[in-house]
C-alpha cells in the first residue's frame, strides 16, 4: 500500500471540507473493499478521509413503514437488528450473508452501495425495495443510484447519510454465491408491495438492475412458474472464471424462482 494522508473527522461537513481540500481523496467507510484494493495498489489515493468517527451516520430506525439505516451501520448490525428482522426479514438475512462474520463487523451499507461492486448484495435490495438514498446534498431514488460498473450517481464530495427502505408485504433474496468470497455470482431480490412485484438482479451483469422482463412475466403475482416466460439476454451477462454468460442467464431464472417461492 502506498502512503497517504489520513484524516479522521467527526462530522459530515468536516468530511466534505477535507475531501475538497484533498488532491485525490477517498472516503473510507468500513474499508473491507477499499483497504484490500489499496493493498494491491489498484488504488492509491492521496488522502483517506475516515467516516468511522461520524456518529450521525450510524444507527437504524423504523417508522411509518420505512426502515432507515445509517450509512456507517455495519452488515453485522443490520443482520442482528430485531427492528430490521421484524420489518424486512429479507434485508436482515441479506446482510447476514455478506462476506464472513469479521467482514460484517466492519463493512457498511453505505460503503457497499457507494462502491457498487457488480457482485455486491445490497444494490439488489436498494432497487427491488424501491429504497431512497439520502446524501448530504439530496435524495436519490434507488432506481437512479447505480449507474454502471463501480459507478453511482454520487458526486466526488457527496456522502451517503442513510438509506430508507419502504417495508414490503413480502420480500426475499436468493444468491448463488462464490464459495470463496461469498460474493453473488447471481443474486435476485424480489419484493411485493401493494399490487406490484419488483425484481432486481445483481452479479449477472456489470451493474445491478431491475429485471423488467421478469417483472412483466410475473405481472404482479408471486407465481414462480411464470418466470419461465421471461427471456434473459445472454449477451448482456458477465462471463468470467466463475461462470459463463449462459450459466449466469440460467441462474437468474433459477434464483428468481426461488426468491418468488420464498416470498409466498
Amino acid at each position: 500500500m502506498y502512503e497517504f494522508s489520513y484524516k479522521n473527522v467527526d462530522s459530515v461537513s468536516a468530511a466534505v471540507e477535507a475531501m475538497q481540500a484533498a488532491d485525490d481523496g477517498k472516503f473510507l467507510a468500513g474499508g473491507q473493499t477499499m483497504l484490500p484494493t489499496m493493498k494491491h495498489r489498484l488504488a492509491s489515493p492521496s488522502d483517506i478521509i475516515d467516516l468511522g468517527g461520524i456518529d450521525e451516520l450510524k444507527g437504524i430506525s423504523v417508522n411509518a413503514g420505512t426502515v432507515t439505516i445509517g450509512a456507517m451501520t455495519t452488515h453485522g448490525e443490520v443482520a442482528a437488528s430485531a427492528d430490521v428482522q421484524n420489518a424486512i426479514p429479507a434485508l436482515a438475512k441479506l446482510a447476514g450473508n455478506i462476506g464472513d462474520p469479521a467482514v460484517r463487523n466492519r463493512g457498511t451499507i453505505g460503503g457497499s452501495i457507494a462502491n457498487n461492486d457488480p457482485a455486491a448484495d445490497y444494490p439488489s435490495a436498494v432497487i427491488a425495495l424501491g429504497a431512497t438514498v439520502k446524501t448530504n446534498q439530496r435524495e436519490i431514488a434507488g432506481d437512479d443510484f447505480f449507474t454502471g460498473m463501480f459507478e453511482t450517481a454520487l458526486a466526488e464530495d457527496e456522502i451517503i447519510v442513510s438509506v430508507s427502505f419502504p417495508v414490503a408485504e413480502s420480500a426475499a433474496y436468493m444468491k448463488f454465491e462464490n464459495p470463496a468470497s461469498r460474493y453473488a455470482i447471481v443474486g435476485v431480490f424480489v419484493a411485493k408491495t401493494g399490487g406490484s412485484v419488483r425484481v432486481a438482479v445483481t452479479g449477472a451483469t456489470p451493474c445491478a438492475h431491475r429485471a423488467l422482463r421478469i417483472e412483466e412475466a410475473l405481472n404482479g403475482e408471486l407465481n414462480s412458474a411464470a418466470v419461465d416466460a421471461a427471456e434473459i439476454p445472454v449477451e448482456k451477462m458477465n462471463s468470467d472464471i466463475h461462470a459463463s454468460a449462459e450459466y449466469r442467464a440460467h441462474l437468474v431464472k433459477v434464483m428468481a424462482k426461488r426468491a418468488v417461492e420464498a416470498c409466498v
Binding site: 502512503e3 489520513y6 473491507q32 484490500p36 483517506i48 462474520p101 469479521a102 463487523n105
Partner: protein, 158 residues
C-alpha cells in the same frame, strides 16, 4: 507519522505509525505480539482475526490508526498465566490444530461466535460462522468439535 494509543489485552500501549500501517503489522512488529498471523492478502483466511471493541475483525483489513483509542484483544490476551482459556484448552484436547497457523484466528473467531450465539452451538452454526477462517491442515472436523466443546466449557459445563 501519527501517534496512536489503544488498550491491548488490558494494557495501555502507544506507538508511532504510518497512515498505511495495518493493525496486524502494528501488533506484530511494534508490539511484538506475533500470535496474530497473516495468511493472505485478500481478507479471506482469517489468521489475523482479533477483537476490536469486543467484535471480531480481520486485523489485516484495518489500519492501525483506525484502532486509535480502541480496546483490542489478541490471542495473547486469553490465557490466565499458565492456565489456558477454555477455548484454547478445547483446541488442545480435541486436536483442533495441526500446524497451528490458523489457530489464533480460529480461536478469536470462535469466541466471537460464542458471544453472539451462546454456549450451546450446533455443528451447522459453527461451520457457517467459520466461513471467514481457512485451515489448510485439519479438514475442519476437529476444529468444529473444539469450538463446540470450548463453548460448552465457557458456559461452565464441559
Amino acid at each position: 507519522m501519527m501517534n496512536i494509543s489503544m488498550t491491548v489485552n488490558g494494557s495501555p500501549v502507544s506507538g508511532e505509525v504510518e497512515s498505511r500501517t495495518l493493525l496486524v503489522h502494528f501488533l506484530r512488529e511494534q508490539l511484538r505480539l506475533t500470535g496474530t498471523h497473516v495468511g493472505c492478502d485478500t481478507s479471506q483466511c482469517g489468521a489475523c482475526v482479533i477483537h476490536v471493541n469486543g467484535k471480531s475483525v480481520k486485523s489485516c483489513t484495518m489500519l492501525a490508526v483506525q484502532a486509535d483509542g480502541a480496546e483490542v484483544t489478541t490471542i495473547e490476551g486469553l490465557a490466565d498465566g499458565a492456565e489456558l482459556h477454555p477455548m484454547q484448552q478445547a483446541f488442545m484436547d480435541d486436536h483442533g490444530l495441526q500446524c497451528g497457523f490458523c489457530t489464533p484466528g480460529m480461536i478469536m473467531s470462535a469466541l466471537d461466535i460464542v458471544n453472539r450465539n451462546g454456549n450451546d452451538l450446533d455443528e451447522e452454526t459453527v461451520r457457517k460462522e467459520l466461513e471467514g477462517n481457512i485451515c489448510r491442515c485439519t479438514g475442519y472436523h476437529n476444529i468444529v468439535k473444539s469450538v463446540q466443546a470450548g463453548a460448552k466449557a465457557m458456559g461452565g459445563n464441559s
